[in-house]
């Protein structure tokens, strides 16, 4: 590279905006298709369990409290999830989706990675059942 070309390059680079972003302060807008955290809308779920069966990494478990009353809880283990979106593709009631803005999923402990989705009282039942495994009576 000639000396003159180098000077030109230096001047240009001096006034150019940096390519990097100041990450925690400025966030890159993620595209719509980004496969971030799994989302679940229990209203339409029929409890068919296909998502459960199809997950390559056993990251989701569908717990049925009452099939007739459509009370389901989806336990999602984010630490196991490979974010492949196969569960989203197979749910024919479109209950599952992958969020494109929830992608900052790092945590210091394992607890935040287990997420329960469902109606509040159902989740409560399940969490309690896990907390006291001996008093294991299905809530009716």
């Amino acid at each position: 590279m000639k000396f003159g070309a180098m000077l030109g390059d230096i001047t240009r680079s001096l006034f150019r905006k940096p390519f990097t972003e100041k990450y925690p302060f400025e966030k890159h807008a993620a595209p719509d298709r980004l496969r971030g955290q799994l989302t679940y809308h229990p209203e339409k779920c029929t409890g068919c369990g296909l998502c459960n069966k199809d997950c390559p990494s056993d990251a989701i478990e569908l717990i049925t409290i009452d099939k007739k009353a459509k009370r389901f809880v989806l336990r999602y283990d984010m630490a196991r999830c490979t974010f492949c979106a196969q569960c989203v593709q197979n749910c024919r009631f479109e209950c599952l989706g992958m969020s494109h803005d929830q992608w900052e999923l790092a945590a210091l402990t394992r607890e935040p990675f287990t997420v329960y989705y469902g109606k509040d009282e159902d989740v409560q039942t399940i969490v309690e059942r896990f907390a006291h495994p001996k008093t294991d009576e299905p809530a009716q």
Binding site: M1, F19, A30, P31, D32, R33, L34, R35, L50, K53, D54, P56, S57, T82, F83, C84, A85, Q86, Q89, N90, R92, E94, M98
Partner: protein, 416 residues
């Protein structure tokens, strides 16, 4: 010097016996030094351990020791249905997941005798070529930084970032894309894809010129690379080297030309070949390949056909969700595919694709059940790495670093 700062390893009699076939008698007598390089050494590009036998600065022998990144992916696939295995293939050669996906899905497609729509084939070509550019950029950057050219590294990563942004837009992930499905693609291309790729292609060729110019006219670079790590064409073939490492030795062998797959025969491109067989030749081939990839992507974009992005064969591809509302047959296919998976006829296939590193082959053996009996990947990095002892006979330690860089290995690919 405090006593505990340097400790020489005491060899036991058993150790010596084990090493007898590996190192020369001089090392056992203590005339030469045995040195452990890696697995945590930045210039080994991952977790590669090299056992070096040194006479001063000269490498007498070099024994690569792999297995530090063993993931058991081949074995895990045996326990998954064919569709479920796709995300695993991303994770082998993590610098070229698109090529891995392609090799695997093409093998299963061959087993199932499925035709892939032309649009899907073109999109696969576009993405694989972009992947080749991004992989070569990582290689160029890290190779240059090994030889102390820092700025090239930063420039290359800047450009690669733009490709990863395109992947994120298409597949939803930057590296673990899982975009190809058996029979086609996960989804169609998003709006704005073509513009994004054209914008990238618009300025990228001049960037390649710049990076190449930074290195090829640099006397330090030339001294460090020319005449170093020479492999002859016969040796390269005998050791099973493929990809740019083979073409750097003057062998005209590129799977894209020799056994065209996925519509590669619809495009015009050249296969760069260099006769010298040294580090510089391999560098030159890869840089030229980036230019050829640009050519291929441009042609594929210009000719991109319209049409379906996944096969209509319901035996392998799930029906679109709208269809489930009215078609009982689709519903049955849907349930069958997602609960049990499809069952290929018993048999075996081998399909190879040209990944950025060389011939990436996928062998699938089916016993007629929904899960493969055996899947094996022919990893280009593994074969190229096995030729390392040959190239490093009698070189300086500093040149060893240049040679490791020049064969462009990814340890995830080596160990699978």
């Amino acid at each position: 010097m405090p006593e505990n700062e340097y400790q020489l390893m005491e060899l036991t009699v058993d150790d010596l016996k084990e090493m007898k076939g590996l190192v020369s008698q001089r090392a056992l007598d203590g005339d030469t030094v045995l040195l452990n390089m890696g697995p945590q050494h930045p210039s080994t590009h991952g977790v590669l351990r090299l056992l070096l036998e040194l006479d001063g600065e000269l490498v007498i022998s070099c024994i690569p020791d792999v297995g530090y990144l063993h993931t058991g992916i081949e074995k895990s696939i045996e326990d998954k249905t064919y569709t479920k295995a796709i995300p695993l293939t991303d994770r082998m050669d993590y610098l070229s997941p698109m090529s891995n996906n392609l090799g695997y899905v093409m093998a299963v497609e061959k087993l199932m005798e499925v035709d892939v729509p032309l649009r899907a084939q073109y999109v696969r070509v576009i993405l694989c070529e972009l992947q080749r550019i991004s992989s070569h950029l990582v290689w160029l950057g890290t190779h240059a930084i090994d030889l102390a050219a820092m700025s090239v590294f930063l420039y290359c990563f800047r450009e690669r970032e733009k490709i990863l942004d395109i992947f994120e837009m298409v597949a939803g992930q930057r590296m673990m894309v899982s975009y190809f499905r058996i029979g086609g693609l996960w989804r169609d291309l998003p709006a704005g894809f073509e513009d994004a790729v054209r914008a990238f292609l618009g300025h990228f060729p001049s960037e390649v010129d710049e990076y190449e110019g930074l290195l090829k006219n640099n006397p330090l670079w030339i001294n460090r690379t020319q005449g170093v790590g020479v492999v002859t064409a016969e040796d390269a073939i005998a050791w099973g080297m493929t990809g740019p490492s083979l073409r750097g030795s003057g062998v005209n062998w590129d799977i894209r030309k020799a056994q065209p797959y996925s519509a590669y025969d619809h495009f015009e491109f050249d296969v760069p070949i260099s006769e010298a067989g040294d580090v510089y030749a391999r560098f030159w081939c890869r840089v030229q390949e980036m230019r050829q990839s640009v050519r291929i992507v441009e042609q594929a974009l210009a000719k991109l056909p319209k049409g379906p992005f996944i096969t209509g064969n319901r035996k392998v591809a799930p029906p679109p969700k709208e269809e489930l509302a009215y078609s009982m047959e689709s519903l049955i296919h849907h349930f069958k595919l997602w609960t049990e998976g499809f069952t290929p006829p018993p048999g075996e296939v081998y399909v190879s694709v040209e990944s950025p590193r060389g011939e990436f082959g996928c062998y699938v053996n089916s016993d007629g059940s929904p899960k493969p009996r055996r899947v094996h990947f022919r990893a280009p990095s593994f074969a190229n790495l096995s030729a390392l002892p040959l190239m490093t006979k009698g070189v300086f330690i500093a040149d060893l670093v240049a040679i490791i860089g020049s064969i462009d290995i990814v340890l995830g690919d080596v160990d699978r």
